[in-house]
Protein backbone atom coordinates (compact mmCIF):
# COMPACT_ATOMS: atom_id res chain seq x y z
CA UNK A 1 0.00 0.00 0.00
CA UNK A 2 2.87 2.29 0.86
CA UNK A 3 4.20 1.96 -2.68
CA UNK A 4 0.87 2.91 -4.16
CA UNK A 5 0.38 5.96 -1.96
CA UNK A 6 3.97 7.03 -2.50
CA UNK A 7 3.56 6.79 -6.27
CA UNK A 8 0.34 8.79 -6.28
CA UNK A 9 1.86 11.45 -4.04
CA UNK A 10 4.86 11.66 -6.34
CA UNK A 11 2.51 12.01 -9.29
CA UNK A 12 0.68 14.89 -7.64
CA UNK A 13 3.90 16.68 -6.72
CA UNK A 14 5.44 16.19 -10.18
CA UNK A 15 2.29 17.44 -11.89
CA UNK A 16 2.17 20.49 -9.65
CA UNK A 17 5.83 21.14 -10.44
CA UNK A 18 5.12 20.82 -14.16
CA UNK A 19 2.18 23.21 -13.96
CA UNK A 20 4.43 25.75 -12.23
CA UNK A 21 7.21 25.23 -14.74
CA UNK A 22 4.85 25.47 -17.71
CA UNK A 23 3.60 28.79 -16.36
CA UNK A 24 7.13 30.20 -16.40
CA UNK A 25 7.90 31.68 -19.78
CA UNK A 26 11.18 29.88 -20.10
CA UNK A 27 13.54 28.87 -22.80
CA UNK A 28 15.04 25.58 -23.79
CA UNK A 29 15.55 24.29 -20.24
CA UNK A 30 11.79 24.21 -19.55
CA UNK A 31 11.15 22.45 -22.84
CA UNK A 32 13.46 19.66 -21.76
CA UNK A 33 12.65 19.62 -18.06
CA UNK A 34 8.87 19.31 -18.26
CA UNK A 35 8.72 16.25 -20.52
CA UNK A 36 11.54 14.71 -18.51
CA UNK A 37 9.60 15.08 -15.27
CA UNK A 38 6.55 13.66 -17.01
CA UNK A 39 8.52 10.62 -18.20
CA UNK A 40 10.00 9.98 -14.76
CA UNK A 41 6.52 10.29 -13.25
CA UNK A 42 5.19 7.62 -15.58
CA UNK A 43 8.02 5.29 -14.57
CA UNK A 44 7.47 5.94 -10.85
CA UNK A 45 3.72 5.41 -11.19
CA UNK A 46 4.37 2.20 -13.10
CA UNK A 47 6.76 0.93 -10.44
CA UNK A 48 4.43 1.96 -7.62
CA UNK A 49 1.36 0.37 -9.14
CA UNK A 50 3.15 -2.88 -10.00
CA UNK A 51 4.62 -3.19 -6.52
CA UNK A 52 1.64 -1.78 -4.64
CA UNK A 53 -0.92 -4.03 -6.27
CA UNK A 54 1.46 -6.97 -6.48
CA UNK A 55 0.96 -7.37 -10.23
CA UNK A 56 2.34 -10.61 -11.63
CA UNK A 57 5.59 -10.02 -13.58
CA UNK A 58 4.06 -12.16 -16.32
CA UNK A 59 1.59 -9.35 -16.94
CA UNK A 60 3.72 -6.30 -16.33
CA UNK A 61 7.23 -6.31 -14.87
CA UNK A 62 8.32 -3.24 -12.91
CA UNK A 63 10.79 -0.83 -14.55
CA UNK A 64 13.50 -1.75 -12.04
CA UNK A 65 13.14 -5.43 -12.94
CA UNK A 66 13.43 -4.54 -16.63
CA UNK A 67 16.46 -2.40 -15.89
CA UNK A 68 18.12 -5.27 -14.05
CA UNK A 69 17.35 -7.56 -16.99
CA UNK A 70 18.93 -5.09 -19.42
CA UNK A 71 22.06 -4.90 -17.27
CA UNK A 72 22.23 -8.69 -17.04
CA UNK A 73 21.79 -9.51 -20.72
CA UNK A 74 23.74 -6.74 -22.38
CA UNK A 75 25.72 -9.13 -24.64
CA UNK A 76 22.54 -10.75 -26.00
CA UNK A 77 20.94 -7.38 -26.55
CA UNK A 78 24.01 -6.19 -28.40
CA UNK A 79 24.03 -9.22 -30.70
CA UNK A 80 20.34 -8.70 -31.45
CA UNK A 81 20.89 -5.00 -31.99
CA UNK A 82 23.66 -5.60 -34.52
CA UNK A 83 21.67 -8.27 -36.34
CA UNK A 84 18.40 -6.34 -36.62
CA UNK A 85 19.23 -2.66 -36.53
CA UNK A 86 22.71 -2.38 -37.99
CA UNK A 87 22.55 -5.15 -40.60
CA UNK A 88 18.86 -5.36 -41.42
CA UNK A 89 17.37 -1.96 -40.86
CA UNK A 90 20.29 0.38 -41.58
CA UNK A 91 21.49 -1.43 -44.70
CA UNK A 92 17.97 -1.48 -46.12
CA UNK A 93 17.41 2.11 -45.09
CA UNK A 94 20.50 3.34 -46.93
CA UNK A 95 19.81 1.29 -50.09
CA UNK A 96 16.12 2.17 -50.12
CA UNK A 97 16.54 5.89 -49.63
CA UNK A 98 19.42 6.22 -52.07
CA UNK A 99 17.41 4.18 -54.57
CA UNK A 100 14.37 6.38 -54.09
CA UNK A 101 16.45 9.51 -54.60
CA UNK A 102 18.16 8.15 -57.74
CA UNK A 103 14.89 7.02 -59.31
CA UNK A 104 13.35 10.39 -58.47
CA UNK A 105 16.21 12.15 -60.26
CA UNK A 106 15.89 9.80 -63.23
CA UNK A 107 12.12 10.22 -63.44
CA UNK A 108 12.43 13.95 -63.03
CA UNK A 109 13.80 14.35 -66.55
CA UNK A 110 10.68 12.90 -68.10
CA UNK A 111 7.39 14.59 -67.21
CA UNK A 112 5.59 11.67 -68.83
CA UNK A 113 7.10 9.13 -66.45
CA UNK A 114 6.63 11.50 -63.56
CA UNK A 115 2.93 11.84 -64.20
CA UNK A 116 2.60 8.09 -64.42
CA UNK A 117 4.78 7.14 -61.49
CA UNK A 118 3.53 9.66 -58.95
CA UNK A 119 -0.05 8.43 -58.52
CA UNK A 120 1.21 4.85 -58.39
CA UNK A 121 3.93 5.76 -55.91
CA UNK A 122 1.42 7.64 -53.76
CA UNK A 123 -0.88 4.66 -53.80
CA UNK A 124 1.81 2.10 -53.08
CA UNK A 125 3.20 4.21 -50.22
CA UNK A 126 -0.16 3.85 -48.48
CA UNK A 127 -0.30 0.07 -48.90
CA UNK A 128 0.66 -2.32 -46.13
CA UNK A 129 4.03 -3.13 -47.67
CA UNK A 130 5.10 -5.05 -44.56
CA UNK A 131 3.15 -7.82 -46.24
CA UNK A 132 6.03 -8.50 -48.62
CA UNK A 133 8.03 -9.74 -45.63
CA UNK A 134 7.22 -13.45 -46.13
CA UNK A 135 8.01 -13.17 -49.84
CA UNK A 136 11.36 -11.54 -49.18
CA UNK A 137 12.21 -14.21 -46.60
CA UNK A 138 11.41 -16.82 -49.23
CA UNK A 139 13.66 -15.12 -51.78
CA UNK A 140 16.63 -14.08 -49.71
CA UNK A 141 16.67 -16.66 -46.93
CA UNK A 142 16.59 -16.24 -43.18
CA UNK A 143 19.66 -14.00 -42.89
CA UNK A 144 19.76 -10.23 -42.62
CA UNK A 145 19.58 -9.84 -46.42
CA UNK A 146 15.85 -10.59 -46.47
CA UNK A 147 15.27 -8.07 -43.68
CA UNK A 148 17.18 -5.42 -45.60
CA UNK A 149 15.11 -6.25 -48.69
CA UNK A 150 11.85 -5.71 -46.79
CA UNK A 151 13.16 -2.41 -45.51
CA UNK A 152 14.14 -1.36 -49.04
CA UNK A 153 10.62 -2.12 -50.25
CA UNK A 154 9.06 -0.16 -47.40
CA UNK A 155 11.37 2.83 -47.60
CA UNK A 156 11.55 3.22 -51.36
CA UNK A 157 8.13 4.68 -52.17
CA UNK A 158 7.84 7.29 -49.41
CA UNK A 159 11.34 8.42 -50.37
CA UNK A 160 10.47 8.52 -54.06
CA UNK A 161 7.39 10.68 -53.50
CA UNK A 162 9.18 13.10 -51.22
CA UNK A 163 12.17 13.40 -53.54
CA UNK A 164 10.02 14.02 -56.62
CA UNK A 165 8.06 16.67 -54.70
CA UNK A 166 11.31 18.18 -53.49
CA UNK A 167 12.88 18.34 -56.95
CA UNK A 168 9.90 20.35 -58.13
CA UNK A 169 10.44 22.84 -55.34
CA UNK A 170 12.92 25.20 -56.98
CA UNK A 171 10.95 28.09 -58.46
CA UNK A 172 10.90 28.93 -62.15
CA UNK A 173 12.57 32.27 -61.39
CA UNK A 174 15.54 30.51 -59.87
CA UNK A 175 15.72 28.01 -62.72
CA UNK A 176 15.66 30.83 -65.22
CA UNK A 177 18.50 32.44 -63.37
CA UNK A 178 20.52 29.24 -63.68
CA UNK A 179 19.74 29.24 -67.38
CA UNK A 180 21.01 32.78 -67.79
CA UNK A 181 24.21 31.61 -66.11
CA UNK A 182 24.39 28.95 -68.85
CA UNK A 183 24.42 26.28 -66.15
CA UNK A 184 24.26 22.70 -67.37
CA UNK A 185 21.56 20.28 -66.19
CA UNK A 186 23.90 18.76 -63.63
CA UNK A 187 25.07 22.13 -62.35
CA UNK A 188 21.47 23.18 -61.87
CA UNK A 189 20.71 19.92 -60.16
CA UNK A 190 23.60 20.03 -57.73
CA UNK A 191 23.71 23.70 -56.90
CA UNK A 192 20.04 24.62 -57.01
CA UNK A 193 17.52 21.83 -57.12
CA UNK A 194 19.01 19.29 -54.72
CA UNK A 195 19.60 21.87 -51.99
CA UNK A 196 16.06 23.17 -52.53
CA UNK A 197 14.77 19.60 -52.26
CA UNK A 198 16.56 18.91 -48.99
CA UNK A 199 13.65 19.73 -46.63
CA UNK A 200 11.49 17.26 -48.52
CA UNK A 201 14.22 14.64 -48.68
CA UNK A 202 14.75 14.88 -44.94
CA UNK A 203 11.04 14.71 -44.35
CA UNK A 204 11.07 11.40 -46.22
CA UNK A 205 14.17 10.23 -44.36
CA UNK A 206 12.51 10.94 -41.03
CA UNK A 207 9.34 9.05 -41.94
CA UNK A 208 11.47 6.15 -43.13
CA UNK A 209 13.48 5.70 -39.92
CA UNK A 210 10.46 4.22 -38.17
CA UNK A 211 9.42 2.24 -41.22
CA UNK A 212 12.89 0.72 -41.42
CA UNK A 213 12.76 -0.58 -37.87
CA UNK A 214 9.23 -1.92 -38.32
CA UNK A 215 10.23 -3.72 -41.52
CA UNK A 216 13.34 -5.29 -40.03
CA UNK A 217 11.53 -6.56 -36.93
CA UNK A 218 8.42 -7.81 -38.72
CA UNK A 219 10.51 -9.70 -41.25
CA UNK A 220 12.05 -11.66 -38.41
CA UNK A 221 8.67 -13.02 -37.42
CA UNK A 222 8.75 -14.93 -40.71
CA UNK A 223 12.00 -16.69 -40.05
CA UNK A 224 15.41 -15.62 -38.82
CA UNK A 225 18.66 -17.01 -37.49
CA UNK A 226 18.66 -17.49 -33.72
CA UNK A 227 19.46 -13.88 -33.05
CA UNK A 228 17.73 -10.61 -33.79
CA UNK A 229 15.22 -8.50 -31.92
CA UNK A 230 12.10 -9.81 -33.64
CA UNK A 231 13.25 -13.38 -33.07
CA UNK A 232 14.05 -12.73 -29.42
CA UNK A 233 10.76 -10.98 -28.80
CA UNK A 234 8.64 -13.73 -30.30
CA UNK A 235 10.51 -16.55 -28.53
CA UNK A 236 10.68 -14.84 -25.15
CA UNK A 237 6.98 -14.02 -25.31
CA UNK A 238 6.41 -17.72 -25.87
CA UNK A 239 8.43 -18.50 -22.71
CA UNK A 240 6.59 -15.73 -20.81
CA UNK A 241 9.95 -14.19 -19.97
CA UNK A 242 8.51 -10.71 -20.15
CA UNK A 243 11.35 -8.71 -18.57
CA UNK A 244 13.53 -9.79 -21.50
CA UNK A 245 10.84 -8.74 -23.99
CA UNK A 246 10.58 -5.35 -22.36
CA UNK A 247 14.35 -5.07 -22.43
CA UNK A 248 14.26 -5.63 -26.21
CA UNK A 249 11.47 -3.09 -26.53
CA UNK A 250 13.54 -0.59 -24.59
CA UNK A 251 16.46 -1.16 -26.95
CA UNK A 252 14.19 -0.85 -29.98
CA UNK A 253 12.69 2.36 -28.61
CA UNK A 254 16.11 3.76 -27.91
CA UNK A 255 17.41 2.79 -31.34
CA UNK A 256 14.34 4.30 -33.02
CA UNK A 257 14.63 7.56 -31.12
CA UNK A 258 18.37 7.85 -31.67
CA UNK A 259 18.04 7.16 -35.38
CA UNK A 260 15.29 9.74 -35.71
CA UNK A 261 17.23 12.21 -33.62
CA UNK A 262 20.35 11.70 -35.72
CA UNK A 263 18.46 12.36 -38.94
CA UNK A 264 16.82 15.43 -37.39
CA UNK A 265 20.24 16.72 -36.32
CA UNK A 266 21.72 16.26 -39.79
CA UNK A 267 18.65 17.97 -41.18
CA UNK A 268 19.22 20.97 -38.94
CA UNK A 269 22.81 21.09 -40.11
CA UNK A 270 22.01 20.74 -43.82
CA UNK A 271 18.85 22.83 -44.08
CA UNK A 272 19.78 25.54 -41.60
CA UNK A 273 18.38 28.10 -44.05
CA UNK A 274 14.82 26.72 -44.00
CA UNK A 275 12.18 28.70 -42.05
CA UNK A 276 11.20 25.65 -39.99
CA UNK A 277 14.74 25.46 -38.60
CA UNK A 278 14.87 29.03 -37.41
CA UNK A 279 14.34 29.16 -33.68
Amino acid sequence: MGWLIGAVVFWGLAWAANVRLAGVSGGRLIRVLVPLIFGVTVLVLWEGIVRGLGIDPVILPAPTVIGAQIARSLPTLWVDFVQTIVRGALAGYVFGSVGGLLVAIAVDRSPFLQRGLLPIGNFVAALPIVGVAPIMVMWFGFGWESKAAVVVAMVFFPMLINCVAGLGEAGSMQRDLMKTYAASYWQTLVTLRLPAAMPFIFNGLKICTTLALIGAIVAEFFGSPIRGMGFRISTEVGRLNLPMVWAEIAVAALAGSVLYGAVALIERWVTFWHPSQRV
Binding site: W15, N18, V19, L21, A22, G23, I30, V34, P35, I37, F38, G39, D56, V58, I59, F112, L113, Q114, R115, G116, L117, P119, I120, F123, A126, L127, P128, V130, G131, V132, A133, P134, I135, V137, M138, T209, T210, L213, I214, I217, V218, F221, F222, G223, G230, I233, S234, V237, L240, L242, V245, W246, E248, I249, A252, A253, G256, S257, L259, Y260
Partner: protein
Amino acid sequence: MKTLLSVLTVLIAILVAWYVGTVAMNARWTLDQAARADREVSFSELVADTMHQTRPVVPAPHQVAAQLYDGIFGKKITSKRSLVYHGFITLETTLWGFGLGILLGVGLAVAITYSRTMELSVMPWAIISQTIPIVALAPMIVVISSQIGVEDIRVPKAVIAAYLSFFPVLVSMVKGLNSPDAMQVDLMHTYNASRAQSFWKLRFPASLPYLFASLKVAIAASLVGTIVGELPTGATSGLGARMLIGSQFGQPLAMWAALFAAAMLAGGLIVIVGLVERQAARMTGGA
Protein backbone atom coordinates in the same frame (compact mmCIF):
# COMPACT_ATOMS: atom_id res chain seq x y z
CA MET B 1 -6.31 12.07 -69.82
CA LYS B 2 -2.59 12.58 -70.22
CA THR B 3 -2.11 11.39 -66.65
CA LEU B 4 -4.17 8.28 -67.34
CA LEU B 5 -1.99 7.45 -70.32
CA SER B 6 1.17 7.87 -68.27
CA VAL B 7 -0.18 5.78 -65.42
CA LEU B 8 -1.21 3.03 -67.82
CA THR B 9 2.21 3.05 -69.47
CA VAL B 10 3.95 2.68 -66.12
CA LEU B 11 1.53 -0.06 -65.07
CA ILE B 12 2.14 -1.99 -68.27
CA ALA B 13 5.89 -1.57 -67.82
CA ILE B 14 5.58 -3.00 -64.31
CA LEU B 15 3.53 -5.92 -65.61
CA VAL B 16 6.09 -6.68 -68.33
CA ALA B 17 8.92 -6.47 -65.82
CA TRP B 18 6.99 -8.84 -63.58
CA TYR B 19 6.57 -11.41 -66.37
CA VAL B 20 10.26 -11.18 -67.25
CA GLY B 21 11.06 -11.60 -63.57
CA THR B 22 8.80 -14.63 -63.38
CA VAL B 23 10.66 -16.36 -66.17
CA ALA B 24 14.07 -15.39 -64.83
CA MET B 25 13.42 -16.38 -61.25
CA ASN B 26 11.53 -19.60 -61.91
CA ALA B 27 13.82 -20.85 -64.67
CA ARG B 28 16.21 -22.49 -62.23
CA TRP B 29 13.58 -24.88 -60.93
CA THR B 30 12.48 -25.86 -64.42
CA LEU B 31 16.06 -26.37 -65.56
CA ASP B 32 16.83 -28.47 -62.48
CA GLN B 33 13.79 -30.64 -63.12
CA ALA B 34 14.80 -31.09 -66.74
CA ALA B 35 18.39 -31.91 -65.83
CA ARG B 36 17.16 -34.53 -63.41
CA ALA B 37 14.97 -36.06 -66.08
CA ASP B 38 17.88 -35.88 -68.54
CA ARG B 39 15.91 -33.76 -70.93
CA GLU B 40 16.61 -30.63 -72.89
CA VAL B 41 14.09 -27.81 -72.67
CA SER B 42 13.62 -25.33 -75.43
CA PHE B 43 13.13 -21.70 -74.60
CA SER B 44 9.41 -21.75 -75.32
CA GLU B 45 8.94 -24.78 -73.07
CA LEU B 46 10.90 -22.99 -70.38
CA VAL B 47 8.71 -19.93 -70.55
CA ALA B 48 5.54 -21.99 -70.58
CA ASP B 49 6.65 -23.97 -67.55
CA THR B 50 7.65 -20.95 -65.48
CA MET B 51 4.12 -19.62 -65.84
CA HIS B 52 2.43 -22.59 -64.21
CA GLN B 53 4.48 -23.83 -61.30
CA THR B 54 2.59 -24.66 -58.14
CA ARG B 55 5.28 -23.29 -55.85
CA PRO B 56 6.93 -20.59 -57.93
CA VAL B 57 9.56 -18.24 -56.59
CA VAL B 58 7.67 -15.49 -58.38
CA PRO B 59 4.13 -16.37 -59.38
CA ALA B 60 3.05 -14.95 -62.72
CA PRO B 61 0.52 -12.12 -62.52
CA HIS B 62 -2.24 -14.25 -64.02
CA GLN B 63 -1.62 -16.93 -61.39
CA VAL B 64 -2.03 -14.37 -58.63
CA ALA B 65 -5.11 -12.97 -60.33
CA ALA B 66 -6.62 -16.45 -60.60
CA GLN B 67 -5.89 -17.20 -56.97
CA LEU B 68 -7.31 -13.84 -55.96
CA TYR B 69 -10.45 -14.41 -58.02
CA ASP B 70 -10.84 -17.87 -56.56
CA GLY B 71 -10.32 -16.54 -53.03
CA ILE B 72 -12.88 -13.79 -53.44
CA PHE B 73 -15.58 -15.29 -55.66
CA GLY B 74 -14.78 -18.99 -55.77
CA LYS B 75 -15.37 -19.79 -52.12
CA LYS B 76 -18.37 -19.37 -49.87
CA ILE B 77 -17.96 -16.20 -47.84
CA THR B 78 -18.10 -18.16 -44.60
CA SER B 79 -15.38 -20.56 -45.75
CA LYS B 80 -12.05 -20.32 -43.93
CA ARG B 81 -10.31 -20.21 -47.29
CA SER B 82 -12.28 -17.26 -48.56
CA LEU B 83 -10.36 -14.03 -48.78
CA VAL B 84 -13.59 -12.13 -48.23
CA TYR B 85 -13.92 -13.80 -44.84
CA HIS B 86 -10.37 -12.93 -43.83
CA GLY B 87 -10.56 -9.48 -45.33
CA PHE B 88 -13.73 -8.79 -43.37
CA ILE B 89 -12.04 -9.74 -40.11
CA THR B 90 -9.10 -7.48 -40.89
CA LEU B 91 -11.46 -4.69 -41.93
CA GLU B 92 -13.45 -4.93 -38.71
CA THR B 93 -10.37 -4.57 -36.53
CA THR B 94 -8.99 -1.82 -38.75
CA LEU B 95 -12.15 0.21 -38.26
CA TRP B 96 -12.11 -0.33 -34.49
CA GLY B 97 -8.50 0.77 -34.35
CA PHE B 98 -9.25 3.71 -36.61
CA GLY B 99 -12.12 4.84 -34.37
CA LEU B 100 -10.06 4.40 -31.24
CA GLY B 101 -7.16 6.26 -32.82
CA ILE B 102 -9.39 9.19 -33.78
CA LEU B 103 -10.84 9.39 -30.26
CA LEU B 104 -7.41 9.25 -28.68
CA GLY B 105 -5.88 11.71 -31.14
CA VAL B 106 -8.70 14.25 -30.87
CA GLY B 107 -8.90 13.90 -27.09
CA LEU B 108 -5.19 14.47 -26.62
CA ALA B 109 -5.26 17.35 -29.09
CA VAL B 110 -8.01 19.10 -27.14
CA ALA B 111 -6.14 18.58 -23.88
CA ILE B 112 -2.94 19.89 -25.43
CA THR B 113 -4.68 22.94 -26.87
CA TYR B 114 -6.16 23.94 -23.53
CA SER B 115 -3.34 23.06 -21.17
CA ARG B 116 0.19 24.26 -21.64
CA THR B 117 1.34 21.72 -19.08
CA MET B 118 -0.12 18.93 -21.19
CA GLU B 119 1.45 20.36 -24.31
CA LEU B 120 4.90 20.54 -22.77
CA SER B 121 4.73 17.12 -21.11
CA VAL B 122 2.82 14.99 -23.62
CA MET B 123 3.76 16.28 -27.06
CA PRO B 124 7.44 15.23 -26.98
CA TRP B 125 6.43 11.76 -25.78
CA ALA B 126 3.81 11.45 -28.49
CA ILE B 127 6.56 12.09 -31.03
CA ILE B 128 8.90 9.66 -29.34
CA SER B 129 6.15 7.05 -29.22
CA GLN B 130 6.12 7.01 -33.02
CA THR B 131 9.84 6.36 -33.26
CA ILE B 132 9.31 3.16 -31.27
CA PRO B 133 8.67 0.30 -33.63
CA ILE B 134 5.21 -0.75 -32.48
CA VAL B 135 5.70 -4.25 -33.83
CA ALA B 136 8.13 -4.83 -31.00
CA LEU B 137 5.26 -4.14 -28.65
CA ALA B 138 2.66 -6.12 -30.56
CA PRO B 139 3.29 -9.60 -29.10
CA MET B 140 3.45 -8.00 -25.67
CA ILE B 141 0.08 -6.30 -26.03
CA VAL B 142 -1.42 -9.63 -27.03
CA VAL B 143 0.04 -11.43 -24.02
CA ILE B 144 -0.99 -8.72 -21.56
CA SER B 145 -4.55 -8.56 -22.82
CA SER B 146 -4.92 -12.33 -22.59
CA GLN B 147 -3.38 -12.31 -19.11
CA ILE B 148 -5.83 -9.77 -17.80
CA GLY B 149 -8.65 -11.89 -19.10
CA VAL B 150 -9.49 -10.33 -22.45
CA GLU B 151 -10.03 -13.37 -24.62
CA ASP B 152 -11.15 -11.48 -27.69
CA ILE B 153 -8.23 -11.42 -30.12
CA ARG B 154 -9.66 -8.30 -31.72
CA VAL B 155 -8.86 -6.13 -28.71
CA PRO B 156 -5.04 -6.28 -28.88
CA LYS B 157 -5.13 -5.93 -32.66
CA ALA B 158 -7.31 -2.85 -32.40
CA VAL B 159 -5.00 -1.39 -29.76
CA ILE B 160 -2.01 -1.83 -32.05
CA ALA B 161 -3.92 -0.28 -34.95
CA ALA B 162 -4.97 2.64 -32.75
CA TYR B 163 -1.39 3.19 -31.60
CA LEU B 164 -0.30 3.66 -35.20
CA SER B 165 -3.25 5.74 -36.33
CA PHE B 166 -3.64 8.21 -33.45
CA PHE B 167 -0.49 10.19 -34.24
CA PRO B 168 -1.40 11.77 -37.58
CA VAL B 169 -4.78 12.74 -36.10
CA LEU B 170 -3.13 14.27 -33.04
CA VAL B 171 -0.67 16.35 -35.03
CA SER B 172 -3.26 17.67 -37.47
CA MET B 173 -5.81 18.37 -34.78
CA VAL B 174 -3.34 20.37 -32.68
CA LYS B 175 -2.60 22.40 -35.77
CA GLY B 176 -6.29 22.68 -36.63
CA LEU B 177 -7.50 23.69 -33.16
CA ASN B 178 -4.88 26.43 -33.13
CA SER B 179 -5.68 27.59 -36.64
CA PRO B 180 -8.20 30.36 -35.78
CA ASP B 181 -6.19 33.55 -35.73
CA ALA B 182 -6.00 36.02 -32.87
CA MET B 183 -8.63 38.25 -34.44
CA GLN B 184 -11.25 35.51 -34.39
CA VAL B 185 -10.36 34.44 -30.86
CA ASP B 186 -10.65 38.06 -29.74
CA LEU B 187 -14.04 38.34 -31.41
CA MET B 188 -15.24 35.39 -29.34
CA HIS B 189 -13.96 37.24 -26.27
CA THR B 190 -15.91 40.37 -27.12
CA TYR B 191 -19.02 38.21 -27.49
CA ASN B 192 -18.29 37.06 -23.92
CA ALA B 193 -18.29 33.47 -25.18
CA SER B 194 -17.48 30.77 -22.65
CA ARG B 195 -14.61 28.37 -23.28
CA ALA B 196 -17.03 25.67 -24.35
CA GLN B 197 -18.79 28.04 -26.72
CA SER B 198 -15.60 29.24 -28.35
CA PHE B 199 -14.53 25.62 -28.68
CA TRP B 200 -17.70 24.37 -30.36
CA LYS B 201 -18.38 27.45 -32.44
CA LEU B 202 -14.89 28.47 -33.45
CA ARG B 203 -12.03 26.07 -32.82
CA PHE B 204 -13.76 22.80 -33.59
CA PRO B 205 -15.24 23.82 -36.97
CA ALA B 206 -11.93 25.42 -37.89
CA SER B 207 -10.09 22.19 -37.17
CA LEU B 208 -12.31 19.94 -39.31
CA PRO B 209 -10.41 20.33 -42.60
CA TYR B 210 -7.20 19.40 -40.78
CA LEU B 211 -8.90 16.41 -39.20
CA PHE B 212 -10.14 15.04 -42.49
CA ALA B 213 -6.78 15.58 -44.15
CA SER B 214 -5.20 13.37 -41.51
CA LEU B 215 -7.75 10.58 -41.77
CA LYS B 216 -6.33 9.15 -45.00
CA VAL B 217 -2.97 8.65 -43.36
CA ALA B 218 -4.63 7.32 -40.23
CA ILE B 219 -6.70 4.65 -41.98
CA ALA B 220 -3.68 3.38 -43.91
CA ALA B 221 -1.68 3.25 -40.68
CA SER B 222 -4.52 1.47 -38.94
CA LEU B 223 -4.60 -1.24 -41.61
CA VAL B 224 -0.84 -1.73 -41.32
CA GLY B 225 -1.24 -2.00 -37.55
CA THR B 226 -3.96 -4.60 -37.86
CA ILE B 227 -2.01 -6.73 -40.30
CA VAL B 228 1.12 -6.52 -38.17
CA GLY B 229 -1.01 -7.34 -35.14
CA GLU B 230 -2.20 -10.50 -36.86
CA LEU B 231 1.30 -11.79 -37.45
CA PRO B 232 2.73 -12.64 -34.03
CA THR B 233 -0.57 -13.08 -32.21
CA GLY B 234 -1.29 -16.60 -33.25
CA ALA B 235 -4.36 -15.26 -35.00
CA THR B 236 -5.87 -17.84 -37.30
CA SER B 237 -7.96 -15.46 -39.32
CA GLY B 238 -7.36 -12.16 -41.02
CA LEU B 239 -5.21 -11.25 -44.00
CA GLY B 240 -2.05 -11.02 -41.90
CA ALA B 241 -2.62 -14.54 -40.62
CA ARG B 242 -3.20 -15.74 -44.19
CA MET B 243 0.22 -14.39 -45.15
CA LEU B 244 1.86 -16.06 -42.17
CA ILE B 245 0.17 -19.38 -42.90
CA GLY B 246 1.07 -19.15 -46.58
CA SER B 247 4.67 -18.51 -45.61
CA GLN B 248 4.86 -21.36 -43.09
CA PHE B 249 3.20 -23.96 -45.28
CA GLY B 250 5.08 -23.02 -48.42
CA GLN B 251 2.11 -21.74 -50.38
CA PRO B 252 3.46 -18.71 -52.17
CA LEU B 253 0.25 -18.30 -54.16
CA ALA B 254 -1.85 -17.94 -51.01
CA MET B 255 0.68 -15.43 -49.69
CA TRP B 256 0.60 -13.30 -52.83
CA ALA B 257 -3.17 -13.42 -53.00
CA ALA B 258 -3.44 -12.27 -49.38
CA LEU B 259 -0.96 -9.49 -50.07
CA PHE B 260 -2.97 -8.23 -53.02
CA ALA B 261 -6.21 -8.56 -51.11
CA ALA B 262 -4.68 -6.37 -48.41
CA ALA B 263 -3.60 -3.87 -51.05
CA MET B 264 -7.12 -3.79 -52.50
CA LEU B 265 -8.59 -3.30 -49.04
CA ALA B 266 -6.18 -0.44 -48.40
CA GLY B 267 -7.02 1.15 -51.74
CA GLY B 268 -10.75 0.86 -51.09
CA LEU B 269 -10.50 2.38 -47.63
CA ILE B 270 -8.37 5.27 -48.85
CA VAL B 271 -10.82 6.02 -51.66
CA ILE B 272 -13.77 5.97 -49.26
CA VAL B 273 -12.05 8.26 -46.77
CA GLY B 274 -11.08 10.53 -49.66
CA LEU B 275 -14.73 10.75 -50.74
CA VAL B 276 -15.84 11.52 -47.18
CA GLU B 277 -13.14 14.15 -46.98
CA ARG B 278 -14.31 15.82 -50.18
CA GLN B 279 -17.94 15.72 -49.06
CA ALA B 280 -17.02 17.20 -45.68
CA ALA B 281 -14.98 19.92 -47.34
CA ARG B 282 -17.97 20.82 -49.49
CA MET B 283 -20.29 20.92 -46.49
CA THR B 284 -17.97 23.13 -44.47
CA GLY B 285 -17.66 25.53 -47.34
CA GLY B 286 -14.22 24.56 -48.50
CA ALA B 287 -13.14 23.89 -52.04
